[in-house]
């Protein structure tokens, strides 16, 4: 399916980074006025997940020598450390952007180390590791603000870390990045199908974060609702792409016959 036109990496990067940061900041500034605005954080996380999934797709297609899941775990591992550090600094509105930058820096360091010391030959290693780290940080910020209703370190620690919900963000967010590539692996993989799947899985993460939110009933209802809508819409889209790409989708049947296999 090479005739498919692809969304270039830079467009997706801009889409994810800007969308994610704008979402987080909208939630950050408007949530004190009315907690239902944390839903922007959830939308930002969806943007970040789609961007991250594309970055995982690009880097994992080179063959890392280890499973796709590892890279998702790496991304969110870098994100978690960067986010907790930046919120701990107590610099108010500077927190999210610093978290994003610190995460990208950690990603770049690990990418450079992989190339220079471990001698990995993947050309996009540094840039892609930086991207997944940034996307990981935005995912944690976006879903974290949904749960805590705020990015204040004290509230964030109490409501997201001490309860352990951060692990739900870690794994559900990480899955939104790594599952699309892992489950679309194969020669006929297409980018639009993969990205639709990423948005669908991010929708599930949004529903779960919304359900765990302490920002008030309004925030819970609206985030869960938005999450379900995202999930439903993109599941339909994904299924459409599957039907388009698959050899055939049958209700039931035997294996293809000899003639068919020719």
């Amino acid at each position: 399916m090479t005739e498919q036109k692809m969304i270039p990496p830079n467009t997706l990067m801009a889409f994810g980074a800007v969308g994610g940061l704008v979402g987080v900041y909208l939630a950050y500034f408007f949530a004190p006025a009315n907690p239902i605005f944390v839903v922007f954080g959830a939308l930002g996380a969806v943007f970040a997940a789609v961007w991250g999934a594309d970055a995982v797709r690009r880097i994992a297609s080179y063959g890392l020598g280890t499973g796709v899941p590892s890279i998702g775990m790496l991304a969110l591992g870098m994100g978690i450390i960067a986010v907790l550090f930046s919120l701990a600094l107590g610099i108010g509105a500077g927190g999210p952007i610093v978290a994003f930058i610190v995460s990208c820096a950690i990603g770049a360091i690990i990418g450079i180390i992989s190339v220079k010391i471990l001698g990995m030959t993947i050309p996009i290693m540094v840039s892609a590791t930086t991207e997944i780290a940034g996307a990981g940080a935005l995912l944690i910020l976006g879903l974290g603000i949904v749960i805590a209703g705020s990015l204040d370190y004290a509230i964030f620690v109490k409501e997201v870390v001490t309860t352990g919900f951060i692990m739900m963000i870690y794994i559900a967010g990480g899955m939104a990045m790594l599952h699309p590539h892992n489950s679309n692996l194969g020669p006929d993989e297409t980018q639009d199908r993969l990205l639709a799947l990423s948005a669908e899985k991010a929708g599930i993460a949004v529903v779960l974060s919304g359900f765990a939110s302490v920002a008030g009933m309004g925030a819970v209802v609206i985030t869960v609702l938005i999450g379900i809508i995202i999930w439903y819409y993109y599941f339909g889209k994904y299924y459409g792409f599957v039907k388009r790409d698959a050899y055939k989708v049958v209700d039931t049947g035997l294996l293809p016959t000899e003639e068919e296999m020719q």
Partner: protein
Amino acid sequence: MIDIVGLIAPNIFWILAIVIGGTLISISVHFISVGGAPAAMAQATGIGTGTVMLAAGAGIAGIIAAGAVMDLNQNFGVVLGAGGVGAMVMLAATMIVATWIYAYGVGVMPVSAKVKYDPITKYRQDLYVSQGTEGHGIPTVAFVSSLLGGLLGGIGAALAYYALMKVGTYAYSGVTPLEVHNLNLVGVVATFTIGFFFINSVIPSYNIVGTIEGFHDPKFKRWPKAAVASFIASIPLGIVAVIAVGALAFAGGL
């Protein structure tokens, strides 16, 4: 804005401990005998799963044990030992059951294809490798090597956990020191340790590329590269972690 210098200065030693912990985790992954996907088809020697995930499974069992013991007894050696032993028990229980399945479910004996004689039991290996495979099962040398890996990885993870707990419970000037049972502290430190562990187990897996049988595998010689890589990567991570955990202590545990 918090006092970063005031946080880092008394904790230089613990930052070093975290960095050493990361390096140990990185080295440990090379010891663990991992056959990857082929091992699940009895096509390669080692445990039938991927490097990162097996190391993570073992290290996490170590973190769970170290966390439980840290709550009861803050002795440095005991906590580190608990981490190492927790990881070793996890690997030993996994490997013995895997051996049952290889021996009784698949009908193959444990054998290595990388060496002619097992360095520990001195058993001849090459004759026992079935055709078209790279060995199968977990022979004694791989078992011992994996245990060493579990020990190192568990100790590394426990060291990082212990160091961060010490950073959190340090008596900073003008602040009541936190208790080791403080739930916020435990949550933040455990979260950091897990993130840190995953990063330091992915780095060596880039170095190993696929499967490794243990210390007798020629690939094992690559470990210094991963150790250096993890050492360098752990320095910024250690500083960042110390600041975040220290900020929690400054805030009085919130």
